[in-house]
Symmetry: C2
Subunit: 198 residues, 2 copies
DNA sequence: CGCGACGTTGATTTGCCTCAACGATTGTGG
DNA sequence: CCACAATCGTTGAGGCAAATCAACGTCGCG
């Protein structure tokens, strides 16, 4: 299956596998097509899988008491997504994980991941490394969230992750950046920052 | 050295070591006393160590162009702290990591960590697990930062991490929560939320 | 003892939200 | 294939949460 090529390539950036190891690894993966607006995770159900996006775009968001959406994760090709808190603790999810367009994902189930780690300990290293990158990424994002204005956050993502910023709908980007859709719209159309030019 | 007992106990929660492995592990550690206000990391210098706090309190903060401080991490006994982006990429730091009181830390140097991972691969697992917990923690914090009001964020930390909230000075807590010291002070003394009671 | 760091309080300002109304685009059933 | 609804983005007016500014009290430390 050609979908598996992308994750093989991805893994090989961090560890190299023997034929047997690779075979076993591929045997625990499931390829799945997710249609736009479909959820792979919902609140109250335990998140069973890590999802690696082969092609497409997804988001993970929290729906608060005022039915406001807050996007925790945006992910496109070659990124991972899930309700990570639910996944690693194997507890009921609090997030939705939804496809923003028709998407192909590769899933690893939690119990299979544990088996994989046992049988092929190299994957301890693999997951350590990618989780470290994820951690560092989140820390940069948190700093941005705490210290920057809405306008600066928007400009930063345009520069650092243009592919994501261009690909996802605006309402998803706004809630990822922690601002209202209206305000993001105004930023994009210079209805706000013009003030600074006076 | 009795300081090493705490980290031995901490590590044993996740992996069990043979005598030799433990001996090697301990040999790459350095115990250090950091006096209040002293920095273990500064911008422009590459962060060489992970720091495990045996006893004390520290914070990592970013100093922006307006000389405002933004606290990324608060850490007390049994927590880790460093400029993680600088550490894992071995690039110049952007943060200060400073002791909020006299503190005893155990340091692992980057190159020694790499050796340790090679010689005792169990530590791949150890760092994978603690990094996953860290990642999940950051994700919850980010959600809080994006979706909650200043008052809610303050109340949440009081409930979930009372030991940290009580131990660090108020200006550090305020900048960790992403609000001004004045506003936190008003929240604590009900100068703001009283409005809601009318 | 005196200075600097920390916290408090009130007055004022502002960045961003909320609400409301309106185009534009998409997709869907008749 | 069109009509109509739903979804998404835009724009403006008004309001509020939290920042900023300024002044002052207090404690701990050199």
């Amino acid at each position: 299956m050609k979908e598996l090529e992308s994750i093989k390539k991805y893994v090989s950036k961090y560890i190299s596998l023997t034929e047997d190891e690779e075979k076993y690894f591929l045997s625990v993966l499931t390829v799945k097509k997710i249609r736009k607006k479909q959820n792979v995770v919902q609140p109250d159900f335990t998140c069973k899988c890590r999802n690696y996006i082969v092609k497409g775009a997804m988001r993970a968001y929290y729906l608060d008491d005022n039915s406001q959406e807050h996007t925790i994760t945006l992910a496109i090709d070659d990124w991972w997504i899930s309700d990570f808190n639910s996944y690693i603790y194997q507890q009921p999810a609090t997030l939705f994980v939804e496809a923003l367009e028709d998407t192909i994902v590769i899933q690893i189930e939690y119990t299979n991941e544990q088996l994989l780690l046992e049988k092929v300990p190299k994957f301890e290293r693999f997951f350590r490394i990618i989780t470290q990158y994820g951690f560092a990424f989140l820390q940069r994002r948190l700093l941005s969230s705490i210290s920057k204005s809405a306008e600066e956050r928007y400009e930063t993502i345009l520069v650092e992750y243009p592919l994501i910023a261009q690909r996802v709908p605006q309402f998803a980007l706004a809630s990822y950046l922690g601002m209202s859709t209206e305000y993001l719209s105004k930023l994009r159309n210079n209805k706000v920052s013009l003030k600074k030019l006076k």
